[in-house]
Symmetry: D3
Subunit: 334 residues, 6 copies
């Protein structure tokens, strides 16, 4: 997906140019994993034009495999981004309808081949939101992956301005999520997709209490039996420039809480959740069995994402681990 | 329509940003006319979002009326532009499918009201190329205009990469063009749309002889009885940076030829034809009866367009007239 | 007025380019009002050159009427802006002497015609500061407006580096302000223009107590009998990047206080007062009789201005109202 | 003087930023001479603000002495530049009225001290055009220089949009030029300032014949007895991007002609004449007695100026001499 | 190698920023081949820092294999580029001493493994110019390649400002070139490296006659028996903006001449020779036995390179073939 | 030294351009002093190329004397800068090996002449870290300065990634520092260079207590008998965007503490220590005997540096004094 962002906090109606980069939920996760040294393949459908080619080149640049990408369709999806400040929110304007991925149909991708040597499959709730075809292909993938014993993870990623193809998230998502081993959501997704709210009622957007979301984890876990882990990212929005950031992980028995980071001068928060997911997958695969460490890696990695322009989280394992050790001082490295 | 152009001759696959401006056939003509001091209204359909709003703001900036623009639909059409150089051609990548104007339907615009005080209606062959709805609305407009005695002009403007909605230009255009008083085309349009070729065969793209196109004019005039004037722009392409530029006008009796300009260091040639049309309408309305002068104004005006970034021809009547008087020296004005 | 701002916190002596935009007290108020959907006309005098033309085009872009602007004079006024940071203040370098508006003379503008269908006239203390002619024309306008029953508002807007034409603000302003129905000032203007200080003495620039300024309101109200409302903006300057922002309104009986906003990451604070005035006029005209709501709208609107580059406050009524409802979280809208 | 140029051939009404640099006739000559290794002092009056300071810093950067610059007055003169292309001329918009130098008065500069160790004094016809004060100070300087045996040179530099202070160039210039040892003009100056035309009449702006201007040299020489050398620059304007460039020098007996350069892809032609003058002074001082070589150096140096952004001619003696030797091939130096 | 180029024809002493890209002789050839769809590996030594990493990412982006790149050493080589105009030449300032590749030693690269599945090995005369180590490693590679039956090609690429490590090109190159099957040089290399001059003496830099270089080919062929083909690029330098471009190929029996292209508005000529080599290798491998077509592909491909920013030739086979068919008109593709 | 910084918080691997400026420890101090009006000479060795020339031009621009700079050697040292944010640290990538200054040898600079009229000599611990030659020349300078009664100051400035030439800082620095009258270090230097730690152990990087460093001062003073004053800068690193900043000065008897500044929105912190040193030297020379005021000037001056792009502290004495008076409100100056 092409991301066209206005420069330096400009409003859309001021922009005489757009900064162009590429991104999108699953691609962002793939870049994170490739950065950490894992082998990844990004599977999608792209148009046979120079913009589609640019996506492939950018993925290659970040060492993400492009072997299973198919070409076809009319256009590359676009999202326009206006970066907010203080009490002015950022705005995302989606222009994804009729994109190559939106017009994908079941059977176009050979999932058997894709998963022939795969260990993990990740998808995000944005994909089934785009079109009926994308939802069907997503289901196809989840089923094939499950059948072949590939771990399946999802990020609920609810977007109210997508989901325009006829069915709603609550109608479509349960069946898909049921096939997942790992479920990630933010503090609002569970409510919007499944109607699952925290028991505690007096929460604010400014301060997010981890404890308030334990009940959400438990309910999700109960609803989706296959899921071994449920994870919730916790973003406190003090302002468009200042967020707090943390997360919790529930393994069915125990609730793990990560430290809370103060992100006081956000550079770019888009892709924060994807950076979390990328960190989480890396953590689970690397710190086998140590869910606390996996969670902490995910939170620290995505905390750093907020300091980087673009959708991709361009950090190294060493940088994440330094922050995990508590060094958030930002002292010059020279 | 949003125009996203790579900066400074960059290829699409190199671009980290796009220069954003707005343009499109009929809008470009309207801006020319408004610049020359004529009252204009631009009629179209735009999405109800910040990009649609930006189009309206930009039109207002150039004093083009926006009173009859309707809002609705999914998206603003986009075209991506890669500016070539020497023997590397410029590339245009259309992303106009499913735009608000593509999904227009007959009845959405109140043409009776639009033409209640209008003197002239101009449309371009790009509009019926976009979709069946756009073609129908175009027909609706031409019929209403004709009925109310409004002069109708068209620019054939053939684009092979549009015309994907089911019918071809040769199937659709004749009926529309038949309602026109003034027909403009470039040296290829007549052949591609109506199969009308010059009699002389040994023409090249590098040197364009005016005489070779007299036969095209005569055939067009014969085919479309209502048309009082047929005009052909003559572009010789020495390279992507260097074109020659002229035009001829046939009034059914006499062929008028304009001087040939050497445009040796092109800044931006997109919109050159629209600038010609804008100049022509101004010339016909202003130099009443003096078709030679009207033609010369059109050619000089559009010659200047090639030195200006963006689709719009930002020149004054005084600047065009100075060039008409033969001063192409480009000496500093201070 | 042309605004030439150094990019990205550069000092004047570092700048190799300037960002160019247009602005100025009354124009900024007009743009706010046009943005909120009100019909406005901006009355001024501009030179007959491309810079003057650019001002008109920019106003048209924002839907501000330009029907009463007269052309003439030597030059467009300029102000250079160096944006500060932390403890380094922003600097404004005025280059407005001998501008077209500075050399305006009484009689040049036909105020009878200007006010023939007007409901409200707003002027700012910057205008009479520029030159004797501008002060006289300002007086002329206030008198004509008053005579025709047009509401008159003013923003005291004291600038010590203007007022160089021979008379001082205390000599000129009282007569002008006496004709006003609405008087706006910041926490320093009343003292500098009329010698009116808060009763409480131990105020700081860092924290501004609303209560301290009630006495200023009362004294202003007493001094200017015609004024139905006196409003004071309250800016606490923690640093060049972080201000607090609020305001009070006194209607002769009751003091209304607005919430205090924490503007922790200022993008551009120039035009903040004008955005307040624009919001206030809109609020008074829209929430008829509800002065608390009008004040709250003014403060919220101008709070948002601090996040937008340029002099103009490019926000919608919906955006202001969302902030008035208390949502300052800046969460991404998508 | 501050130069504010629109980027990349933009028109004034398109510009969202201006490239800022410094320049002006005599300063440009001084920078040329300092670049070639000569000791220079630039004498002017600048405002006591950050823009005035920036001028001084920029002069120091180029090793031009600033010891005799006085500070005072209201503002720094500005000129806005829109760079043309092909048949669209560049435009210069002067905003120099009321600048510090325009408001200079006789006696402000201690010319005795300035010339105490000087060998050469150069002034340009732009200075007396600005204001009566500037003209008087210019006269003061010429007289003091002459008295002290300093060589005096001038560049006639006629600008029709200056000369607005009450007297015309033909009224003021003769007395000033009479004090000069070296007179430089372009192919139009002599006619506009003194009414001296070439004898041959059928000259065009496109091709400039050196022979046609011999008569102009002879008439100038006759009119100004003190002048030992009269030099005319010969610019043929094929288009805004393509000029031919040469010059002739008449020493009262012999006419020297320089080679004609084809400047086919102009980067920035402003300051071309000043670069010529700088080259000429260097040539005369260095190639003592070899006027042909001095002239050739001047033409080659200013030919190179057309390839450099900004008013200043940033070339070395070695680079000019390479071009003088006939190497105009532009092969990469590595 | 990091390329740091001043923007928009700026001189080094004007630059406040540098455009950063990556390039270098053999890398440029590899990118060309990868663009045309061939499998390539680029073998070099890069520092273990973020700049070294960026080189690898950029190569991956263009689909060039990085499997045999070794990491180590102190620094990445840099070259600074100032782009000339008209009669002002471009300047290259090398800062390559002590780079990782300069400090490479024999044995560091496992050439046996590199060539285990290779068909072609290409090196350029820049590599042995850098340091004794680089020359030795180059020799090591040529010997191993020859031993394994890999085709070896070289581009003589003489650079007088390199070759500072103790031996000169004439001392080092003959032994290396003797191992080559294909030898490429420009119109000066043969003379500077081997003292081989054209028989015809009155050649100029402006017009390059193909016939004049037949003798050079014959002498090279005679001197280097292994070489099956000798190729010479022919660049006529009209100015820094306008070059003519062609080439000849001699297969020991027959001289093939390519068409001459007029490159009238050069965007970036650095990498032109490498683009030629890339085209040539592709042509020889693709049009097996048709040397005329291979040569024509090479010349057309590298002609297009002159229109593209950066060292890399970002064109497709289809684009090159269109130019080979004679379409140099640069007409917009839409 | 050339500084190449990625724009707007970009990571090295994202950068398509670098902002270029010049800087380096002692040069930064010299610019500060020149800004405050003191006569300074910067002594170094620069290559004879355009980059070396640019350094000299930039120094001249800031009024720093360049009379004793020698030219020679291979290359200009470079440092690459990636500006961090929040918990992502800034990164400095040194590319200084084999620079002209690194390859300096004793005897190259005529220190007798340099110090003939000097009052103060300042050097930084970065210089001896570069190479053995630089260390030797540094020693040479200190000895000559001491002999001639010139005050000697040093900034310990420990950089772990330099010091690669064979000896370590603890081996080299004591002898050099022993010759100094004034010693400046940051809160880590004393430990890393001399193993001197604060007595109090529970210090953090976030909050720096002045009292904790009194012991460091005493130990330094004791170790280096010649030093009349020991100064330590105190930086608390809350994040990459937010530092606290202060300093202490110990004169052998009394400890002076400066106010602590909250630098909440850092623009550029590189050169902060040099700005402190520049302020300190100015303060000591100006406020003779008032060490508290000298220290306060140093801290306030360098606090302001954090708001300015580039290595140089472009502030005036008046601006520093305003901050010293306690006005950190950043209110617009107009």
């Amino acid at each position: 997906m092409l991301r066209l962002a206005t420069p330096e906090h400009q409003r859309f109606i001021q922009a005489a140019s757009f900064n162009a980069s590429f991104g999108g939920g699953e691609a962002n996760v793939a870049v994170s994993l490739a950065n950490y040294g894992l082998l990844t393949e990004y599977v999608t459908r792209l148009p046979q034009n120079d913009l589609g080619q640019s996506v492939i080149m950018e993925l290659r640049r970040h060492n993400v495999g492009t072997n299973h990408i198919i070409r076809g369709g009319e256009r590359l999806g676009i999202y326009f981004l206006e970066t907010g400040s203080v009490s002015r929110p950022s705005k995302v304007l989606y222009d994804r309808a009729h994109s190559s991925i939106a017009e994908i149909k079941p059977g176009m991708i050979d999932w058997e081949k894709v998963f022939s040597a795969a260990e993990w499959f990740h998808w995000s709730g944005i994909t089934p939101a785009i079109s009926e075809g994308a939802a069907s292909v997503c289901k196809e993938a989840i089923e094939t992956a499950s059948k072949k014993g590939v771990i399946v993870s999802c990020d609920l990623n609810y977007r109210k301005n997508l989901w325009k193809w006829g069915k709603s998230a609550p109608e479509v998502m349960p069946e898909l999520v049921a096939g997942c081993d790992i479920i990630l959501g933010n503090e609002e997704d569970a409510e919007r997709v499944f109607g699952i709210k925290p028991d505690e009622s007096n929460y604010s957007t400014r301060e997010i209490k981890a404890s308030a979301y334990e009940s959400v984890c438990r309910k999700l876990k109960k609803k989706f039996a296959k899921a071994g882990k449920v994870i919730i990212t916790l973003r406190g929005s003090v302002s468009a420039d200042y967020n707090t950031w943390s997360g919790i992980l529930f393994d069915g028995k125990k609730l793990f809480e990560a430290p809370v980071y103060q992100i006081t001068h956000i550079v770019d928060r888009v892709g924060g959740g994807d950076a979390f997911m990328g960190g989480l997958i890396y953590g689970i695969l690397t710190y086998k069995g140590d869910d606390q460490k996996a969670l902490n890696f995910a939170v620290a990695a995505s905390c750093l994402k907020h300091t980087i322009h673009g959708d991709f989280n361009l950090v190294t394992v060493a940088e994440v681990e330094q922050l995990m050790r508590g060094d958030a001082s930002g002292r010059v490295v020279r």
